[in-house]
Symmetry: C2
Subunit: 206 residues, 2 copies
Amino acid sequence: MSPSTVPDIIVGRLPLYLRELSKMAEEGKEITSSQELGKRLGISSAQIRKDLSQFGEFGKQGTGYNITFLVMQLRIILKVEDVWDVVLVGAGDLGHAVVNYGGFTDRGFRLGLVYDDDPSKIGQMIGSYIVQDVHSSVDDIRARNIRIAMLAVPTADAQTVTDRLVEAGIRAILCYAPTSISVPEGVKVEYIDPVLHLQHMTYYLP
Amino acid sequence: MSPSTVPDIIVGRLPLYLRELSKMAEEGKEITSSQELGKRLGISSAQIRKDLSQFGEFGKQGTGYNITFLVMQLRIILKVEDVWDVVLVGAGDLGHAVVNYGGFTDRGFRLGLVYDDDPSKIGQMIGSYIVQDVHSSVDDIRARNIRIAMLAVPTADAQTVTDRLVEAGIRAILCYAPTSISVPEGVKVEYIDPVLHLQHMTYYLP
DNA sequence: TAGATTGTTAATCGATTAACAATC
DNA sequence: TAGATTGTTAATCGATTAACAATC
């Protein structure tokens, strides 16, 4: 089935399935069922079976799913069976946290380049990376054919940097700035703003 | 209308509306319409009007919405008209980024306490905070009546720390660890895992 | 075989949109 | 008044769930 026909809300759950199944594999489990996976994720078993059925038949009646096999299939579906190079723009505190974040490894991503526009930061080391001048980013990114960027710059700079990234060939942006950014058709953007989550929860607090 | 009757998916959009309206206010705008706001957020005007109508009548036919007034109303609805104290557990790189994050101010939150379990970190300064021993957290949190926590600890520690926080009276947790945590009824949890966003986007990359 | 669980269908449930009377 | 936009209704659209035949 062609990707464009699968509802985006289903695609968005696959990474969650992949994460939990990888955890099960680490625990040494070999087989699971839609019921068990659903319980661990707080999702109905019917939904998990329905979601997976969009992409093929991965289980066995009476038995369930082979975890290693399903992990591999989900990696292929999500296109993370290989490793994507990712650039980071913004070498502030958040940028530091992203650089030192251990969670990318084995999940399909590798930090390739780190940029900032602050002359006092350019040339400095963060972890094993040298902070590059953002003004050279378009050429670098083009040359290395990188498609994914993480944006950890101040809100005021977010749109300008975005425009440059798109020009350089970036097609997916994870934006940590608490603002909406405009991109042309064909460029994906997702946002992380912790305050949105906090405000969502305070609604329910007494 | 009683809060529990409003669909959660609508509640989840209110912080987004609030963020964009605050930005408009900063730009000096006084009035907006559901159409204009929708355009800036990539949401239909009908949805915005329907969402807001769950909580009252905030606009004027023919005119639109007074931005300052609507911002105030949304703050009240989301219970962020006052400032919540928040505790942070985990003083690693991510913890540092959270402490130095400027985005909490004026959005309803203030960092109150920072914890870690690493003796080499306890007592050190991060920004203007002294890292506290997590073993004293239950008493501290109870004494100060804090309800909200951010969790920036390794995956392996997430559940243990969560149990302690719940015992201390925490009722809302923003979890940065890439794992699901179990909490009793009445405790809200939201998650931030950048890799889930990246994997969602790679699905659509050629 | 008996028990368990899948993949799928049909029914239910809920969310979004279109349209418009009300009215500023 | 004329034009614009709200709040709301009804229609549409889409997502979730329940149930079960197929089958391991």
